[in-house]
Amino acid sequence: MSLKDIFEKTIPKLVLGPTLLASLLFVYGFILLTGYISLTESRMMPTFEFSGLGQYVDLFDNERWWTSLTNLGIFGTLFIGFSVAIGLFLAILLDQKIRAEGALRAVYLYPMALSFIVTGTAWKWMLNPSLGLEKVMHDWGWTAFHFDWLVNPDMAIYTVVIAGVWQSSGFVMALFLAGLRGIDDDIIKAAQVDGASLPTIYRRIVIPAMRPVFFSVLLILSHIAIKSFDLVIALTAGGPGNASSVPAIFMYQFSFTRGQLGLGSASAMMMLATIVAVLVPLMYLEARSNKAMR
């Protein structure tokens, strides 16, 4: 074996080795550590004395945790649903070979370039009744106008949905647009020859053919939803009161400001479990459909 052969064999391993080790340690190692801490009585500092599932019992007895879970359910469903619907709709409109498509695409994609903190702060100002939309409407003479979701404990979580959808639907549109462009023109032409109308073509041919794109979009959006923290902090700070708290905020507050590291770790493990519960079936389905295609 020549020196060159040895190099060619070992270099990829050498280059990938450190990254592999680092992610094994810092991702999976720390997942295991967090899992173990959630089984201890850790308070301000971690302790390593095993104490069973007590933290999980406390967690599910905590009303704040249930509020957070409910909010995640509302936010996750609506955020993913609206982002996909609006993104797909925009993508189909942009796909109609219109003028200045590049410029329009950039306009819709730009929100993604902002951080969630900026989005949250801007929407906070717009939705604040005495500062934003409501005040403008009142100043213009429409005094009956009423929009106080941001300060209404029952509706605050929906303002997070609005801001989240505004931020992400452009990005979803870009993904779908790429998917639409990947579909063979000949199939569509054949359908047109057969006399299918445009809506039918989209419904029966184009959208089913974009199945892999749907998988990617759901994967990306669902993990954004589950880990969402900055958007909520900037927009409502989990308020009014704790009305719009989400699991990530719960985890941060209990672990780092309230000295209940064990309980915080338990909530982190539950978040991980939620992600796994959503992603594993999705990935399984995708893997199976890939095999079927082959």
Partner: protein, 413 residues
């Protein structure tokens, strides 16, 4: 041997150019007035012959600072001192990392210049491990005299009944009666002032410091929530999420009549060029005139390996408690000195009132730690209680339900 000598000599030569030892202080005084106050301490420490290594971690509540501190302590390299307050000092004490500073405390007669309740907070198992810096009073109500006059309110109300009469008049005059920011800690601040005013200091001590279940579920506690519910009715609907200083600005600008807030609010009035007694009024929250909820900042001292570093630590502790520092620092920050024997010349009327009330309440048992500001109970329990209060303030929860939830939250360990 020779090589070792040379190495030592060169190190000494280099070290000679700086101070003999540095004291490293972790704090979160990063806003304008606070940074000025911290600079004073730096000067005093330098005069004592020690270098100052600033370890400021931004984030008003000190959460980030605590995270930074934990990493340093775990890695076995703690700073000389860190800004830690209340029961957290005990939590750190249990970790076995705090240093005994009895030597300075005895020399400075801390036991006699500090009120006993304050000294107790600074001690772990009977030994001083922390040096107190200042005292903030939490049960204040601030008011704009113009707004009161326009509404026909004569003077600051001293009972809850007269307070609600005044609030009703202000509301009718078109102003907002109570300026408030709907954040959990501000909700808790109002709650504890109401509890102190409605139930008195003994009730407060039993319910919110000792967490006595019987007191927590007593009819008095129901009355506390009833009163809090009434207070809620005079807060404007845009309050959720508003920062406390914006609420103070509403009082300054004459948009609102009253605000319940600790005396750090004075800094806002002062920087707007307002004079106490003339442009704004301060009084104890209704019904709590003889009582005093305190919020004390302190430096907890961490064990040092090096003998020189220990000396620097003692010098720091001594500097913090010196009348000179206590006076300058507190004039900048709006609080009052924690020790007796500090000249009162430069302090304003509200600060003088605070000092007088602290003296009185220290003698009659009315001096109690603030629950909302982490002086009374561990952070876990405090968090659970503030969740209940926040829920009450932001929903149609009944007082009876709130009391039940509060009693449950108080059991959080």
């Amino acid at each position: 041997m020779k090589l070792k000598h040379i190495v030592m000599l060169t190190t000494l030569a280099f070290a000679g150019s700086a101070y003999a030892t540095d004291v490293e202080v972790l704090h979160y005084w990063t806003s304008g007035g606070e940074a000025k106050s911290a600079a004073q301490l730096k000067l005093i420490v330098k005069e004592a012959g020690y270098g100052w290594k600033d370890f400021a971690v931004a984030g008003g509540g000190g959460e980030n600072a605590m995270t930074a501190l934990k990493t340093r302590v775990i890695s076995g390299n703690p700073p000389t001192a860190a800004q830690i307050k209340g029961p957290s000092i005990q939590e750190w004490g249990r970790e076995g990392v705090l240093a005994n500073i009895d030597e300075v405390a005895v020399a400075g007669k801390w036991d006699s210049v500090l009120p006993k309740v304050v000294a107790d907070v600074m001690k772990y198992k009977g030994h001083y491990v922390a040096a107190p810096i200042n005292v903030h009073r939490v049960n204040w109500v601030w008011a704009n005299p113009e707004v009161l006059k326009n509404a026909g309110v004569a003077g600051m109300p001293t009972t809850w009944d007269s307070f609600f009469e005044a609030a009703e008049k202000i509301k009718k005059s078109g102003a907002i009666a109570i300026a408030h920011g709907g954040q959990p800690w501000q909700d808790a601040t109002i709650f504890e002032s109401v509890a102190l005013g409605v139930g008195g200091a003994a009730f407060y001590q039993k319910a919110l410091v000792s967490l006595d279940q019987k007191t927590l579920t007593s009819p008095t506690m129901v009355k506390v929530f009833d009163t809090l519910g009434k207070v809620k009715g005079y807060i404007d609907k845009d309050a959720p999420g508003r920062d406390w200083n914006l609420a103070t600005a509403m009082v300054i600008n004459g948009k609102a009549g009253f605000q319940f807030m600790g005396d750090w609010a004075k800094g806002e009035f002062a920087s707007a060029g307002k004079v106490p007694g003339k442009d704004y009024l301060c009084a104890a929250a209704p019904g709590s005139a003889g009582a005093y909820t305190f919020n004390i900042d302190s430096f907890a001292m961490f064990q040092q390996k090096d003998a020189e570093a220990k000396k620097g630590q003692m010098a720091l502790a001594k500097a913090v408690m010196s009348p000179q520092f206590q006076s300058v620092f507190n004039l900048n920050k709006g609080s009052i000195p924690v020790r007796s024997g500090v000249s009162k010349d430069k302090f304003d009327d509200c600060a003088l009132k605070s000092m007088a009330d602290m003296d009185v309440s220290g003698k009659n048992g009315g001096l109690v730690p603030s629950m909302a500001h982490g002086m009374a109970i561990p952070s876990a329990t405090q968090g659970a209680i503030s969740d209940v209060i926040a829920k009450f303030m932001n929903s149609s929860m009944t007082s009876a339900d709130a009391v039940a939830a509060l009693a449950k939250a108080a059991k959080t360990k």
